[in-house]
Symmetry: C2
């Protein structure tokens, strides 16, 4: 049996899995990242996870490659994590260090690119040649998988759709710009908008759910979904606006690259139709008729595991390509 | 010597040229399209142009392939012109018909894609792996050339940046949508905006240049450049807004695909820095710092001939690829 290992390095947790050729995840482990212990400690932890996963396999079965998804700017050709803010990494030679420790071929890439790759080849984009994926979470990022290949662009920076300036949005963004899509349309952005409105005295059922929590620190995107289901006007307005803005940014991206399917994932996608309905309405309303016909806009199928599936299958594909050379 | 032929089919003229491997155009002819005579007549005319070009070559030299750029929706794999509004074409089997008449391998693609390919491999984008090109003319369209390959997308529709909705723009577009970039930021859009302002009584030096022409029918984009050089406030406002809007649309496209160079061509690019300065200012102001560093925004080098150069060199490349199979 031919398996590979996918690792998704997040700011909070590292998730690793053994993935079959079909995309099925047959083993999975999750460990805290503890990024403040430094990059060496995180690389050791990844090494431990890989060892644990390999030891769990049946006799005679082993992984052929390891794919690692890393947030931020990644140089996949050089094998470097150029910059990962939430890990505190800058120019960490991940491939060299991991190959030394693990003894298997290691492939790295940006985590969103690998997530979308996973959805493109073994999830909601399966069977489509042109996939645009977007993850709506703490931030918003996109990736393009075209004819089975991740589209990287110059400095591998393609997909920074979360920082497109949106009209009518004025919030400062952590990137230094203002009016970025993700300031109001990411899961965190929605929560931030809601907290602000609540602190400004806006009426909402959410007010009753956080007695004594004047900063509404406990509020999450899941609360917004629940409040929306109870007909709450504030939650509905925030979610609807986020859906519309995502739809608007995706319309511009879609007319630029012409995807066959747009896959929406990340924590924000857990809102389902609450977010997808305004997103789709806005998107389809802005597209040229030829784009409207045939373009599918769907939720990710493996929201939790697309990262490790994509990392594992991409490592497998890259290894086979280099074998073929 | 190894040469190929490029043909650029426009609504008014067909231009054909013999192109060397280097991109040098060594012969060129131009004939009226006369599209209302029907697609068969236009295909015959292309055939005549190819014959004339081949006959002009020195003994022992012949073209190895013909590339044809066609406006509108093209299916390059099927060899079909799906829809070309200004030619009145719908599902014309261009490759089959031309190969029958010419007896050489024929490759077709969308005219803007081939124009940008020409600039990418033998013009202002030479040496860059990730090229985004935009043509600002009657309409606005873009194309992506990535690692030497034209990016097509689903139904080969990538690049319809002219129909991205821009805030603050309300004009109806011929496509059926409203607020499309090209309604005000194309060369035609700029002229239309200026005529409208003049008819509404706006002061401008342009008023003196068209005595008795109450509809300002003779006004062209070139007049706007001239008026701007004389310090005319109306022309300056129209051109500056067009530059800004193009810059804004390009910023969103750039963060989506991360080009290394953006090439600006088409009739509107003849305005040079008058258009490029507001375009660059807006674009760079909207980009994430990592995108700002290293991204070049330049005028096309072969504005008049990039279409035939790209068509010829792309046909050559495609033919060599299929030989290699």
């Amino acid at each position: 049996m031919n398996v590979s290992i996918g690792i998704d390095v997040g700011g909070t947790n590292i998730v690793g899995g053994v993935v079959e050729e079909s995309g099925a995840v047959i083993r999975k482990v999750k460990r805290p990242t503890e990024a403040n212990a430094g990059s060496e400690a995180v690389l050791d932890r990844i090494t431990d996870i890989v060892r644990e996963l390999r030891e769990s396999l049946a006799d005679g079965v082993d992984a052929t490659a390891v794919g690692v998804g890393i947030p931020g700017l990644v140089d996949p050709d050089a094998g470097l994590s150029r910059f990962a803010g939430n890990l505190g990494w800058r120019n960490v030679p991940v491939v060299r260090e991991l190959e030394k420790r693990i003894g298997l071929p290691v492939v790295i890439d940006n985590d969103v690119k690998l997530y979308v790759y996973g959805e493109a080849v073994a999830g909601a984009g399966r069977g489509s040649r042109h996939v645009l994926g977007i993850t709506i979470g703490t931030g918003i990022a996109a990736a393009i998988v075209n004819d089975g290949a991740i589209y990287h662009g110059f400095k591998s920076m393609a997909g920074e759709i979360g920082h497109v300036r949106m009209d009518g949005v004025n919030e400062r963004c952590s990137c230094g710009l203002a009016g970025c899509l993700e300031t109001v349309a990411s899961a965190s952005g929605m929560v931030r908008q809601t907290r602000k409105a609540l602190r400004e005295g806006r009426e909402s059922v959410l007010r009753d759910w956080f007695p004594g929590d004047e900063a509404f620190a406990g509020l999450t995107a899941a609360h917004l979904s629940r409040a929306m289901d109870e007909g709450d006007a504030l939650a509905t307005a925030v979610m609807t606006r986020a859906g519309m803005l995502n739809g608007r940014a995706l319309a511009a991206a879609a007319m630029t690259i012409s995807p066959e399917v747009i896959v929406v994932g990340g924590g924000g996608a857990l809102a389902g139709d609450r977010l997808m309905e305004p997103l789709r309405n806005e998107l389809y309303g802005l597209l040229l008729p030829d784009f409207r016909e045939g373009l599918k806009v769907v939720l990710a199928e493996n929201n939790d595991e697309a990262g490790i599936i994509g990392s594992a299958l991409y490592a497998r594909k890259r290894m086979m390509e280099s074998d073929g050379k």
